[in-house]
């Protein structure tokens, strides 16, 4: 009886020892994890605010009728911490609760502080203040933001414009500044144009009608497609045949995103564009949107004189599920590439 015999003593001893060492290792591991966290918590308690508990209590407090009571939770905290908390909560709460949050922040003197920060010598501080002022709609804050539209640093000007987007009182000032300022024609301004297209389509349309600068129009075309501004989509269609290659690419991508009836025709044109980079980009769009009806066009591009386009055509064809035999059979002009 092998399992009923004392001959098994060494075996059993080994099992017991293994179990004991295992148990010890498990206990030590768990203990070290808990201890590490406890030390972290203790350190955090010494440091001021934050924490999920505070955020949770603030949100719960703002939902109650006596929401003014949550002010006591912020007592004794530094202005910077209060600003960070309000900024964070504004991303979470909506509707009535957001209005209460703004009122609370105003009671705590946050707008004054942010307006003062708009005069800071540090660009980052000014830009953050301009972003955070988007919550406040009082005339002083709006005036401060309008002043910030002439800040020496483009980052601050963009932040101020984003905060002003959608405010009726700031429309005319915003329109003249964003059209005159070259910062709004550079890639970092893409976010601003997206915001404006969503919040104030009318102002966006006016700006679009007034600008002919290619860089600015590129960003705006992208925003039109992204926001789905139906009334401006004809402009995107028009841009898809413009003389600016980058504009043609963005317009075609935008039309595809919106599933516009003109999208396929624009893509056809882009596939035959004189610019090789654009032909390659068109193939990338075919792959991205998995446009199986374009398979014959993709196969034609296998004969493109540019290696970049041929290579992209091969990748796209494979992504569309075309077989290697089809690719090999059609790519006759460049047989060596078929070996890759």
């Amino acid at each position: 009886m092998p399992f009923a015999s004392a001959k098994l003593d060494p075996f059993l001893t080994a099992i017991w020892q293994l179990s004991l060492w295992g148990a010890l290792a498990g206990c030590l591991l768990a203990l070290s994890l808990v201890l590490r966290r406890t030390v972290e918590e203790w350190r955090q308690r010494k440091a001021p605010p934050g924490g999920q508990e505070l955020r949770q209590r603030l949100i719960a407090g703002l939902a109650r009728e006596d929401w003014q009571a949550v002010r006591s939770l912020l007592a004794g905290r530094s202005a910077a911490d209060v600003a960070a908390l309000v900024d964070e909560l504004a991303q979470i709460v909506r509707g009535e609760m957001q209005l209460r949050l703004v009122a609370l922040a105003a009671q705590l003197g946050l707008p004054e502080r942010l307006r003062a920060e708009l005069r800071s010598w540090r660009t980052g501080v000014r830009a953050l203040a301009a972003t955070r002022l988007s919550l406040f709609r009082d005339p002083e804050s709006e005036a401060a933001l309008l002043t910030a539209l002439r800040d020496p640093h483009p980052k601050v000007r963009l932040a101020a414009a984003e905060s002003l987007a959608g405010r009726p009182a700031a429309r005319s000032a915003l329109e003249s500044r964003v059209l005159a300022d070259s910062a709004f024609a550079r890639p970092p301004a893409a976010r601003f144009w997206h915001l404006l297209a969503g919040r104030d389509p009318e102002l966006f349309s006016a700006c679009f009608a007034a600008t002919s600068e290619p860089e600015r129009r590129r960003l705006m075309i992208e925003a039109i497609a992204s926001a789905g501004l139906v009334q401006l989509l004809p402009a995107v269609v028009e841009a898809s045949v413009s003389g600016d290659p980058e504009l043609r690419r963005k317009a075609t991508a935008g039309l595809l995103e919106r599933r516009h009836p003109a999208a396929f025709a624009a893509l056809e044109r882009l596939l035959l564009d004189p610019e090789p980079v654009l032909r390659a980009e068109a193939l990338a769009l075919v792959a991205r949107f998995r446009l199986a009806p374009f398979a014959p066009r993709v196969l034609q591009r296998l004969e493109d004189p540019e290696p970049l386009v041929r290579s992209r055509a091969r990748d796209t064809a494979l992504r569309l599920g075309l077989s290697l035999a089809e690719l090999g059979a059609l790519s006759r002009s460049y047989p060596l590439e078929n070996l890759r």
């Binding site: 399992f3 099992i15 179990s19 591991l29 994890l33 949770q56 949100i59 939902a63």
Partner: protein, 481 residues
């Protein structure tokens, strides 16, 4: 003569069973410890990714458009919060399709009220069969939301109805009682961008019970107050943070959770969509997609990304939990038997050799052996057929291995996700890692054996699991005071 044979047979059977139980237990423990080591290695090689801003800027131009499919039946308590959270996801091009699978409650009405939906007639001509669609509902102001109202046909049937309408390269299936973290899609889509072979990606699923929710977002992570849900929390940690990470690293991941998974639309459709004959449609779809890709010589890979987190409600009563676990096991058995030809076959790579094989060994056979061990070894001990010290030693080894693996999962959680904010939560989880070995683990094995029985009898069906609304910030704060 008969008496003599019986007296000789009993010790022999006891010894034989003892040997089998020891070997299976040892193999399972070693397998899990190996998974822990591999997960640790995977984490060291690919630590958690960059912050939200870097993630957005690196993926916004290249992330393919994606559709989120949300099958919902009798989810009136949570559906509006879930859909709000989905619409607020940080992703460049995302569309949400909710499929109301013949709800008997006000699921559809709640959606119509909350999003101002308008009814449109609909005639489906998609390639995947499904129960009749009554209508589709669209929002005049939100073109990214579509609701399909259809007759009840089960979760897989609902997903097929939605899949027919997917126009994007990728789709994501999400349970209606689940909440995705805002950046979860961006994080999960990365393998599709980085590796063209990717056909499916899974993310981590965590227990939402006890967490506070506001506007469809988790605003405060807490451990559940119910011990049953806490036990499941540690189980989910083990399954997702450890096992799936390790199996994906080995190219052997056989499952992408139905609660949150992203799939390549073309391959999912070509493979025939979701199977309606099984309750384990998530496992079955992955197996069928891999099978299809392998048979058509298409490059394929199933990935797991631990950082995208999906929060889901777990049952808080034994009855609901039993139903869920039995259903999962029946689903796993159905899928395994349907794709048995893939197991132990090098043709199917790591999935066939390791993923499916380990499922057969440890999910199908081990519950039977372990339960038999727990029942019969004490009997053999009592009758004197085997040595008592042996039984105790075996029990000690089994429990210690279980505790070690769970503590390992906790370590991975600490290194990787750190979603539980307080030391107290960790201490409770460590305690749960010990407690679960005394009763809960055996109970789960018992449910699995019941699952075997149901599977053999051919019993099907989802059963109804009671859902509670998510805890709002106010209720959580009140209950903690």
């Amino acid at each position: 003569m008969i008496a003599l044979s019986t007296s000789a047979l009993l010790p022999f059977l006891g010894q034989l069973l003892g040997l089998v139980v020891i070997l299976v237990g040892l193999a399972q423990s070693l397998f899990h410890l190996a998974l822990f080591a591999i997960a640790l290695f995977a984490l060291a090689m690919g630590p958690p990714r960059a912050g939200k801003r870097a993630l957005w800027s690196s993926l916004v131009e290249v992330a393919p458009p994606l559709t989120v499919l949300v099958p919902a039946r009798d989810e009136e308590q949570t559906i509006v919060d879930s859909v709000r959270a989905l619409l607020a996801l940080q992703y460049p091009h995302v569309r949400v399709i909710v499929i109301d699978d013949g709800s008997r409650d006000r699921t559809l009405a709640r959606l119509v009220e909350a999003f101002g939906l308008e009814r449109r007639p609909f005639a489906s001509d998609g390639p995947l069969p499904h129960a009749p669609v009554r209508a589709v509902w669209v929002s005049p102001s939100l073109d990214r939301l579509l609701v399909i109202e259809k007759e009840n046909g089960g979760k897989a049937d609902a997903l097929n109805a939605g899949l027919n309408l997917v126009e994007t390269e990728l789709f994501c299936s999400v349970d209606a009682d689940s909440l995705l973290e805002a950046d979860s899609l961006l994080r999960a889509v990365r393998p599709f961008v980085e590796d063209e072979r990717t056909v499916a990606v899974g993310g981590t699923v965590r227990v939402a019970n006890g967490c506070a929710v506001h506007g469809g977002r988790i605003v405060s992570v807490r451990l559940p107050r119910s011990w049953l849900a806490r036990l499941q929390s540690i189980e989910y940690l083990r399954a997702f943070v450890m096992a799936r990470l390790a199996l994906a690293r080995l190219g052997a991941l056989p499952i992408v959770s139905g609660a949150f998974g992203i799939f390549a639309t073309a391959i999912a459709r070509a493979a025939g969509g979701y199977a309606t004959w099984t309750v384990g449609e998530d496992l079955e779809l992955v197996l069928r997609m891999v099978h299809y890709a392998r048979e058509h010589d298409l490059p394929h890979a199933v990935r797991f990304v631990p950082e995208p987190v999906c929060w889901t409600q777990v049952p808080e009563s034994l009855r609901d939990l039993a139903r869920q676990r039995i259903r999962w096991h029946v689903g796993a058995l159905e899928s395994l038997f349907a794709h048995a030809h893939m197991a132990f076959r090098p043709r199917y790579g790591g999935l066939g050799l390791l993923g499916l094989s380990s499922m057969v060994l440890f999910d199908v056979l081990t519950p039977l052996v372990e339960l038999a061990g727990f029942v019969l070894l004490p009997v053999f001990w009592w009758t004197g057929a085997i040595w008592g010290e042996f039984v105790l030693a075996w029990l000690a080894l089994t429990f210690v291995a279980g505790i070690l693996v769970s503590c390992g999962a906790l370590l991975l959680e600490e290194l990787e996700l750190r979603r539980y904010p307080r030391a107290r939560d960790l201490a409770i989880l460590a305690m749960v890692a010990v407690i679960e070995n005394f009763g809960y683990r055996q109970l789960v094995n018992l449910w699995r054996v019941v699952g075997h029985w149901r599977f053999l009898r051919g019993a099907r069906g989802w059963g109804r699991i009671h859902r509670r609304p998510f805890e709002t910030v106010a209720t959580t704060a009140a209950s903690r005071q």
